[in-house]
């Protein structure tokens, strides 16, 4: 597994954790109408720890001759960025459309809801980027004979 793949796996784990935390926060604020401070702090610490582990994992070199990225990695990353960019466009359009039907054309939403939506769009874009990288490696980069 090369650095790009490792980074994509880390990105996937961090993104899914963040999405789960967002879902938990959403349930707290809308359904339970009660904040669980300790649980939120635990979740934030876990997320921070995962991000730190991600950075350490990427920076750590396995061998002195190890190549960080090559031309194929860059091609895969470019395609993943395009997929991620398209997903952001689709998500923004969908969000506008859904909000139009939920709160109406002149309706308002709370600031925390807008913040959560923006973070969710960013996280889904990162998720699409990581999945696109892993799918491309899966299609053409299986480990073969040494």
């Amino acid at each position: 597994m090369n650095k790009t793949q490792k980074s994509a796996w880390c990105g996937l784990v961090v993104t899914l954790t963040f999405l789960l935390l967002c879902l938990f926060l959403f349930i707290e604020l809308t359904i339970l109408k009660k904040m669980f401070f300790f649980m939120n702090l635990l979740g934030a610490t876990l997320l921070f720890g995962l991000v730190v582990a991600w950075v350490i994992f990427i920076c750590k070199k396995q061998s002195p001759t190890e190549v960080k990225t090559d031309e194929r990695d860059k091609l895969i990353q470019t395609r993943a960025i395009v997929a991620s960019f398209i997903s952001v466009g689709i998500l923004i359009a969908l969000t506008c459309l859904i909000l139009r039907f939920i709160v109406g054309i002149s309706g308002t939403i709370a600031v925390w809801e807008l913040t959560l939506i923006n973070f969710l769009i960013f996280e889904v874009a990162l998720l699409v980027y990581s999945v696109a990288i892993l799918v491309q490696y899966g299609l053409g980069g299986r480990d073969g004979e040494k």
């Binding site: 031309e71 990695d73 053409g140 040494k146």
Partner: protein
């Protein structure tokens, strides 16, 4: 639509040149092992500079490693029947 393929002899040449591993070849030409695997499997066509580096590593001309195969060749413009 014509299906074009680039065949390569990388695996054969690795074994003929002292059975070097994919990792050793990758280190010599400056790419990751996954890229060598993809090239050998015919799933990735390398850039011209990388193809030249691989050819230099094995000491053979580039056409000795990579061969272009057009499965649906176009009829020649200078055909005697024309």
């Amino acid at each position: 639509m014509a299906k074009n393929e680039i065949k390569n002899q990388v695996r054969r040449l690795r074994f003929e040149n002292g059975e070097i591993t994919q990792q050793q070849l990758a280190d010599k030409v400056g790419v990751t092992r996954q890229t060598i695997i993809a090239i050998e499997a015919g799933k990735y066509a390398p850039s011209l500079p990388l193809a030249f580096r691989i050819a230099q590593t094995f000491g053979v001309p580039i056409e000795g490693i990579f061969q272009y195969q057009d499965e649906d060749p176009q009829p020649s413009a200078t055909s005697p029947d024309a």
